[in-house]
């Protein structure tokens, strides 16, 4: 238990002192996972809405694929994205391997099915009656979509929270496509794993405390947004 106390004290001290490497790692973590979540939301919320509302052949197949994707193992994503981004891979000319951009791509792939799946479920469980009522009142398609998203706001924000939580905590993909390069692609999870293997357990605990605090902070903000004004 001494280790935990030492680690928490160290985390506090590193932040107060403004340790440059730790601040950089923390900001990069926020930047990469934030951007990946944003991309997943921009693509996933409309996609989930469409899947929930439309009826086409193969919808169940598509919905099952999304639901399977919600448990996509990060290392698998990391491997596939690596193969695409390697110098001699199909996208090698972009020189993205071992950069933060590569990590954003991998994390977006991980977050997308999570955001899509939660949105799909949220919209899908809305009362059919609301939809018909709106249409009968003369709402346009876009107005209808907007109202439905408003109705499903709790679920949509849950989707964002789950997406962010999924990527900020993953390590397999970021380690593989980012390489844990000091000062460039080192994020809180990969740094924690490295400090463990170096035997610097106090530092590892400090980093993990910072990661938990960061995740809590972001989730608190989103939850606040979710609960604001009570249920719509």
């Amino acid at each position: 238990m001494d280790l935990v106390v030492e680690g928490i004290a160290k985390a506090f001290w590193l932040l107060v002192k403004g340790d440059r490497e730790v601040i950089r790692i923390t900001l990069l973590t926020l930047r990469v996972s934030g951007l990946a979540t944003l991309i997943a939301v921009v693509v996933g919320v409309p996609l989930g809405t469409v899947l929930a509302l439309s009826t086409f052949r193969g919808r169940e197949v598509a919905a099952s694929l999304i639901n399977t994707g919600m448990g996509l193992p990060p290392v698998v994503v990391g491997l596939w994205v690596s193969i695409l981004l390697w110098r001699y891979g199909p996208l090698g000319f972009l020189h993205l391997m071992y950069t933060p951009a590569a990590m954003v791509i991998a994390q977006s792939v991980i977050a997308l099915p999570i955001v899509t799946g939660f949105t799909m479920a949220g919209i899908g469980q809305l009362d059919q009656g609301v939809r018909l009522q709106m249409l009968s009142l003369g709402a346009s398609r876009w107005q209808l979509l907007w109202i439905l998203l408003g109705e499903a706001r709790l679920s949509v924000l849950a989707a964002v929270i789950a997406g962010f939580g999924g990527v900020v905590s993953e390590i397999g993909a970021s380690m593989m496509v980012g390489g844990n390069v000091m000062g460039q692609t080192r994020i809180l999870t990969t740094a924690t794993a490295m400090e463990v293997s170096r035997g610097h357990f106090d530092m590892a605990i400090a980093l993990s405390v910072i990661l938990l605090a960061l995740t809590y902070g972001v989730t608190y903000g989103l939850t606040h947004l979710q609960q604001k004004g009570g249920r719509a």
């Binding site: 001699y88 071992y98 951009a101 954003v104 390489g179 000091m182 490295m194 293997s197 170096r198 035997g199």
Partner: protein, 273 residues
């Protein structure tokens, strides 16, 4: 999306053109001991290159090199490295340093190997007692060495007592310590982690336990996308006298003894004599 990202980050594509970047694929031991934290900034400020250090097992490092996905390699599996040299995939392979492998285990030493001077002999005893042995299990340089010793001991390890960690050296030592098992480790990583481990050095000094590090370039004639000049600069840097001095004194302050012996320019066959 990819283009958006390239613009959003601007990191790889624009700010750091590929020619300034050197991808170094290396073993976990050079990172876990902290040696690279000292050497890489020196190299970067001397040459202006930016190094991306990818610390993985030697198996993966060599595989990345063999596919042209890294520019320069720092590894410790001479036999596997020579295969790449022979096939022309890597070139300019130079001896950098060595330390040695040691067999560590719980102070109670259930298999009774303390003080033996033959590594295969010790492995035979561990197998005979079915004492817990934690293997790296990751095709790293250390794992390759371990398999070499088992082969020499004519033992095919397996069963409940033989556990494959599939992790780096540091993590494997942590596991061995928790499980009160034996493991083969490089001395550098062991010394760096020693104070947190419940493991003693039990067997050392067998000539076959030398752990020899070479640096080598991925052959730019085989791979047009490899940064040949950058890799060459890194090889030259690793064998330069000033760098060798830093290597020779690395760890003395913290552990009372050096973690590596600088060997540039020596003949590999003369090491350990």
């Amino acid at each position: 999306m990819v283009i958006f990202l390239a613009v959003a980050f601007g990191s790889a594509a624009t700010a750091a053109p590929a020619a300034r970047e050197v991808i170094l694929a290396t073993t976990t031991s050079t990172q876990d001991t902290g040696l690279l934290d000292v050497l890489i900034p020196m190299f970067e400020s001397e040459t202006g290159y930016m190094v991306k250090t990818i610390a993985v097992g030697t198996g993966q490092a060599l595989a990345l090199g063999a596919r042209g996905e890294a520019d320069v390699l720092l590894c410790h599996a001479p036999a596997s490295e020579m295969e790449l040299v022979t096939s022309g995939l890597v070139t300019n392979r130079r001896l950098v340093m060595h330390n040695d492998f040691i067999i560590v285990g719980p102070p109670s030493d259930p298999a009774g190997i303390r003080g033996l001077t033959s590594a295969p002999e010790a492995f035979k005893k561990i197998a005979a007692h079915e004492a817990v042995f934690v293997s790296r299990g990751d095709d790293s340089g250390t794992h390759k060495k371990e398999k070499e010793i088992w082969a020499k001991a004519s033992v095919q390890p397996g069963g409940r007592w033989y556990q494959e960690a599939g992790s780096g050296m540091g993590q494997t030592l942590n596991i061995a310590s928790e499980k009160e098992g034996y493991t083969l480790t490089d001395r550098g990583t062991y010394l760096a982690l020693k104070k947190r481990l419940g493991l003693d050095v039990l067997v050392q000094g067998d000539p076959m336990l030398l752990n020899i590090y070479h640096v080598m370039q991925v052959n730019p004639e085989k791979f047009d996308k490899v940064n040949g000049p950058g890799a060459k600069a890194f090889v030259e840097f690793m064998v330069a006298p000033e760098t060798q001095k830093v290597i020779a004194s690395f760890g003395v302050r913290d552990y009372g003894e050096p973690l590596f012996f600088a060997d540039a320019g020596k003949n590999e066959d003369d090491l350990g004599r």
